[in-house]
């Protein structure tokens, strides 16, 4: 068996007033780089970033599964409540995780819901962060389909969530990677994807405040796949039009899950950004 350099750990984590068992993976050493997975999925999406030898040389890449996702269980009593992600919870999770691991001024990179929350972090925590990278970032997404069917006893949630994720990818991305991305979605717990979408499509609207982001305090890089119709290049453009100094690149031939649907193409866009951040340009 050829072993990968990725190491997975569990840790006890105080979050939302309760002890929670959080799972995370890491590889490499140097500047801490926290990667945030998409709604309803888990940290496996970043496998290629964790495994990339050139990134590992200069970065300590760390990927956690959000509570309720992947190998991080929901808190005790989950059966009595609906899971609903909010801006406050998500921010507490990321900044609390960085503190819990004593990470000094980490870079935070997030995709989709993660691409939204990095805009919030740019507003509220810029001084504690070295740089922010938003993948598929938009300030808000109006609901264009009814997500209640993704959490319905008469519809198989895994199949429905997988089918929604499938369409968000590029037809040019390799089959194997696309279908693995779908598989991660099929493994989500009931109501978790829709709970994340509450933040993405209802609560987490920051259109009114993005103009206050100061990229001279914390650089902001935005990378968006051209085949994404959830957070389209046009949605990211609307952000850059109002955030002075944000650096925006359209990723040709990629969709909503660049890091997992086409890792090779994505790394081609990511490596120069990480080099620029390291050089402090």
């Amino acid at each position: 068996m050829k072993l990968e350099p990725i190491v997975g750990r569990y840790g006890e984590f105080q979050f939302q007033g309760a002890k929670q068992r959080l799972y995370f993976e890491e590889a490499g050493s140097g500047i801490p780089l926290i990667c945030l997975h998409t709604a309803g999925s888990d940290g496996r999406q970043y496998r290629a970033v964790l495994n990339d030898s050139s990134i590992r040389q200069n970065y300590r890449v760390i990927v956690f599964d959000m509570p309720w996702h992947g190998k991080s269980s929901p808190p005790a009593g989950w059966q009595n409540q609906d899971y609903r992600l909010t801006t406050g919870m998500y921010t507490e999770l990321i900044m609390g995780f960085a503190r819990a691991l004593d990470l000094e001024r980490p870079v935070v990179m997030g995709c989709s819901i993660g691409g939204r929350i990095v805009l919030d972090l740019a507003l509220k925590h810029a001084r504690q962060l070295r740089a922010l990278i938003g993948l598929q970032s938009g300030a808000f997404v109006e609901r264009y389909y009814d997500p209640s069917w993704l959490d319905h006893p008469e519809v198989h949630g895994g199949r429905a969530c997988g089918a929604v994720a499938y369409g968000l990818m590029s037809p040019l991305s390799p089959e194997a990677e696309r279908w693995e991305t779908v598989w991660h979605y099929m493994q989500g717990g009931p109501g978790v994807f829709t709970g994340d979408l509450y933040f993405y499509q209802v609560e987490g609207d920051i259109r009114g405040r993005i103009g206050e982001i100061d990229t001279s305090v914390c650089p902001l890089y935005l990378l968006t796949g051209e085949y994404d119709y959830s957070a389209s290049p046009r949605d990211t453009e609307a952000v850059t039009a109002r955030v002075k100094g944000a650096k925006f690149t359209v990723m040709k031939g990629l969709g909503h899950f660049p890091m997992s649907e086409n890792p090779e193409a994505f790394l081609g866009y990511l490596r120069p950004v990480l080099e620029e951040i390291r050089a402090g340009r």
């Binding site: 264009y144 389909y145 319905h152 008469e154 089918a163 929604v164 499938y166 369409g167 968000l168 119709y229």
Partner: protein
């Protein structure tokens, strides 16, 4: 494009397996033209309208130009998925959404089957 759909799907076990439990009839409209797609255990038969009094469980309606862009061998961004058309307002889903969402992956693969054919 849709006339050849039955052969494209029925000869492809990688699509049929996603609809193995489906026994339903749904409507596809390509502009003014109506097609009833009758699915039995993942295999289907297509009947061309017009119809006067026929039942279907859900309907998917889009303009001919939208389907033509959707059926390109490599569709352009925004034209590559049923939900992409939904986001841009170029498709309507009617009828029983529960059945559509339960078989969404199958329906997506079926309707994309004519690409490059």
């Amino acid at each position: 494009m849709i006339e050849g759909l039955a052969r494209l799907v029925n000869d492809n076990p990688a699509i049929v397996r996603w609809g193995r439990r489906m026994n339903q009839t749904f409507m596809v409209e390509v502009g003014a033209e109506q097609y009833l797609v009758k699915v039995a255990e993942g295999k289907l038969a297509v009947e061309k309208g017009p119809f006067t009094q026929r039942s279907w469980v859900f309907a998917i309606r889009a303009k001919r130009e939208a389907w033509e862009r959707f059926w390109q061998k490599t569709p352009a961004p925004g034209w590559h998925d049923l939900f992409a058309l939904l986001r841009r307002g170029d498709v309507a889903f009617e009828g029983d959404q529960r059945v559509l969402m339960a078989y969404l992956q199958y329906v997506k693969l079926v309707l994309a089957a004519p690409r490059g054919a």
